[in-house]
């Protein structure tokens, strides 16, 4: 399949996740298990024969949802409530989640109230990551989740099935990491928008299908001769539950930035860490849960062994990024807490960064253009040399 056709498939799943999943359910007869982002393992749902689907912020204006939640909530939370109120989750057989961001919990209560015939289950993941009991508690939670899935499907969930799904998911992460590495090295041309579509569609599509498409895409990208481009090498940070609007990604690149890496949830954060494929799968998932926070620290967790700001400075260096753009979803409390830590660390090191507060309602693009252009000029001036050539 041509690369453009593959990307079109990714786009269809990424931009219309519920339609894509509903059609998959119709044609394959699988149950749909929706999850909230950010730390919930889809592997177990897949092993139970379900299609795990990470529920996404939709582009539609929020309307009836405002009758169930205040406007001072992040776009993701408001969008989820809005979708539930509009009946858009009707095709889901279950929604399961484990993160306890206070805003998402508010959405969860509304979702359960609006979907009385859907299994809306909560399995609280311990968010304090460096306690002596963090690992055992995470395993206990995954055991409860396993029991919940078994109750929903009416079938026992075998360890071998979970291991098999773990292998499939690891392969998916590996393929996406290859895309990242090739882009970082300048060996392929792949825009920030295209990268987001590749990762976001993985949160929706059947993993075996997604793997197959990724393999074909990688082969074609590698065989094409990359055109050399120039621009300021930009690192994107932030945006957890919801994907940044692709309009913002396009704008950054239109202004002369080249996105070379990120720690976005719809990016590196999602694919950073693999699960051990042998041994007890519940222990492996619990270890994965703790390990990924050390690999790419998450501000929604507390972990005395992790430093997000230190990670970001290192990641920028590895990617040879010249400036960082922080995308903060408005009202995102974890990000608001950690931003001063990042700001101080970057100021101390003299690394330029720009904070952009984003909203569900995309009404600030032109104002943003001026800020991004100015920022990229500042980065260029600081570099004190002609713009670095890419590839």
């Amino acid at each position: 399949m041509p690369a453009q056709a593959i990307l079109a498939q990714f786009e269809a799943a990424a931009e219309g996740p519920l339609s894509w999943a509903t059609e998959w359910k119709r044609t394959h007869g699988t149950r749909l298990l929706g999850t909230f982002p950010m730390h919930f393992p889809g592997e177990m749902a897949h092993a139970a024969g379900c299609l795990p689907l990470i529920l996404q912020e939709q582009q539609d204006p929020i309307t009836v949802g405002h009758g169930m939640i205040y406007p001072f909530y992040c776009g993701y939370t408001r969008s989820i409530v809005d979708q539930a109120c509009k009946g858009e989750f009707e095709a889901l057989d279950a929604i399961m989640f484990g993160d306890h961001c206070v805003q998402v919990l508010g959405a969860a209560d509304v979702v359960r109230a609006k979907l009385p015939n859907t299994w809306v289950h909560f399995y609280q993941l311990i968010s304090s990551m460096s306690d002596p009991w963090s690992l055992s508690r995470a395993r206990e939670t995954f055991a409860q989740l396993k029991a919940g899935i078994e109750e929903m499907t009416g079938q026992p969930l075998a360890d071998d099935a979970i291991r098999s799904s773990i292998r499939l998911f690891n392969r998916n992460r590996d393929l996406l990491r290859q895309l990242y590495e090739l882009r970082r090295e300048g060996r392929i041309q792949f825009s920030a928008r295209q990268m987001q579509l590749a990762v976001k569609s993985s949160m929706v599509m059947d993993k075996a299908l997604h793997n197959e498409l990724l393999k074909q895409l990688l082969a074609q990208l590698l065989s094409a001769r990359p055109s050399t481009g120039s621009g300021v090498r930009v690192y994107l940070s932030g945006h957890f539950c919801q994907a940044p609007k692709t309009g913002i990604l396009d704008l950054i690149e239109d202004c002369g930035g080249i996105v070379v890496d990120d720690d976005l949830y719809h990016g590196t954060r999602f694919i950073s860490t693999d699960v051990d494929e042998v041994g007890d799968p519940l222990t492996a998932l619990a270890q994965w849960y703790l390990a990924r926070n050390l690999k790419v620290p998450c501000p929604t967790r507390v972990d005395q062994k992790a430093d997000w700001e230190t990670y970001l400075l290192g990641a920028m260096e590895r990617a040879k990024a010249e400036g960082m753009i922080v995308l903060m979803a408005k009202f995102c409390e974890p990000h608001m807490y950690y931003y001063p830590e990042i700001k101080e660390a970057f100021e101390r090191r003299g690394v330029p960064h720009l904070l952009i507060e984003t909203e569900h309602e995309l009404n600030m693009l032109e104002g943003l253009r001026t800020r991004v252009e100015s920022f990229l000029e500042v980065v260029k001036r600081r570099a004190g040399a002609p713009t670095r050539r890419v590839a």
Binding site: Y70, A113, Y123, V302, E333, M336
Partner: protein, 448 residues
């Protein structure tokens, strides 16, 4: 009926409230002197785990209580400004912003310890600067993820050198069919998990004090807490009477003794006197507001900047705020569950069923019971701008009480300790509309 507040009317507040002020003042005076008296100081947030520290002779600073005190005494702004200067945005929990701002101030006094570029943000001599710097942190935040992150930020602000202990409080959600208030297999498992962590927390405290943990002392403290909890609930029950002799605002100003004041004879004495005053008023037919026409329920957290203002405002409407989620569904309200010989499970139960940690279906049932018990005519929902923990279920609560009890509601906007979010004219218009709706229902013979 008076739906427009006329000349200033004062609420008939309980006289015993002044005793609470004395307890609070004495408590903070002792905290300010803690270092000079050779005590370690623990900063903590969330549920009332202070008995754990008290039993080990450690002084404690409850972040929310401290922020509320600053707001109640109009001294919150410098700390909030210090936090904003460091980069914390205004939409962040105002309790946290205020407390973290105090961390910035405390660093200033600690001088070289800081490393913060904003340590010089404030002048000297402010109340917010008097809170002693921590020797340990304990985080025990129910439901609200922001609480745990707030403590983590303090840990980082103080250079990651001060030991921190996290108690993870499970949300009472209810996946299973046997889930119910105070019961079911998930709830029981959560209680056991909490007990394990409380034991570990005692070990943590013992490790840092260098002394064996005094469990017998904890039991003794909890016996006072239990008595205080019982007396408070009994006093509040007396407000089923019409007119209600005390109001939600009285119970709000009486939270300190069941939240962070030392567990001892003083808190029992306090609630004994409060209950006696309520009984006296009951015998005399004296209400908390003059000519009680409306009995209201307050959903949401308190607006500490406006406590007296709001008490008088509602008194002006002849509306008695009889009960509330904040006061009636927390603060050792499940005192009966405390076994004074082995109090950990009872403590865990009270922490788990605090006013934000129940999922909406369980919470709504408890609120409906209270509305029926106190014969509520209308509900005021305080949408605290930076407290999503309290604001989260409010539309579901409003929907349920309107459908099931037929009572009108009014949403008002404000905040815990950031006064800028409060807009009085909007509050007035919404409350007046609700009172009109109550009147309308009465005229139609729908309600008493």
């Amino acid at each position: 009926m008076s739906t427009v507040a006329s000349a200033p009317v004062k609420a008939n507040r309980l006289k015993t409230s002044s005793l609470n002020n004395q307890l609070v003042n004495d408590y903070w005076a002792e905290v300010f002197e803690a270092k000079q008296n050779g005590k370690l100081v623990c900063w903590y947030e969330g549920v009332a785990i202070n008995p754990l520290m008290q039993a080990a002779d450690v002084a404690w600073v409850h972040g929310e209580a401290w922020s509320a005190l600053l707001a109640a005494r109009n001294n919150e702004e410098p700390a909030q400004t210090a936090a904003e200067h460091r980069g914390y945005l205004k939409e962040l929990c105002s309790y946290a912003r205020t407390h973290i701002g105090c961390g910035v101030l405390a660093q200033k006094r600690g001088a070289e310890a800081s490393g913060s570029s904003f340590a010089d943000a404030l002048g000297a001599g402010l109340l917010g600067e008097r809170v002693p710097a921590p020797d340990m942190f304990i985080s025990a935040y129910p439901y609200c993820s922001t609480g745990q992150q707030w403590d983590e930020m303090l840990y980082r602000l103080f250079g990651k050198r001060i030991p921190i202990f996290n108690i993870s409080v499970p949300w009472v959600w209810g996946n299973k069919k046997d889930s119910q208030y105070l019961g079911g297999s998930e709830f029981n498992e959560a209680v056991q998990f909490m007990v394990r962590q409380l034991r570990e927390c005692m070990n943590f405290i013992a490790e840092h004090t260098g002394r064996k943990y005094d469990f017998d002392r904890l039991c003794e403290i909890m016996s006072y807490v239990k008595q205080a909890g019982r007396l408070r609930m009994e006093a509040m029950d007396l407000c089923m009477a019409k007119p209600a002799p005390a109001s939600f605002f009285d119970w709000t100003t009486s939270l300190a003794p069941v939240n962070f004041i030392k567990g001892g004879p003083a808190i029992v004495d306090y609630f004994t006197k409060v209950k006696a005053e309520v009984q006296e008023r009951l015998a005399a037919g004296e209400g908390a507001v003059r000519n009680e026409q409306y009995r209201l329920f307050w959903d949401g957290i308190m607006n500490w900047n406006k406590i007296g203002w709001l008490a008088n405002k509602f008194a002006g409407y002849e509306a008695n705020m009889v009960a509330g989620r904040y006061t009636h569904m927390g603060f050792w309200h499940e005192w009966e569950s405390i076994d004074v010989q082995d109090p950990l499970a009872g403590m865990a139960i009270n922490y788990l069923v605090c006013p934000i940690n129940l999922s909406a279906p369980l919470m709504i049932e408890e609120i409906i019971k209270l509305c029926r018990k106190y014969e509520i005519d209308g509900m005021v929902l305080h949408a605290a701008r930076t407290c999503r923990a309290f604001s989260n279920p409010q539309y579901l609560i409003a929907e349920a009480v309107q459908k099931r009890l037929g009572i009108p509601v009014a949403f008002i906007e404000g905040d815990m300790v950031d006064e800028s979010f409060y807009k009085d004219e909007i509050v007035s218009s919404r409350v007046e509309a609700m009172l009109e709706a109550i009147e309308s229902r009465r005229r139609a013979g729908i309600a008493a």
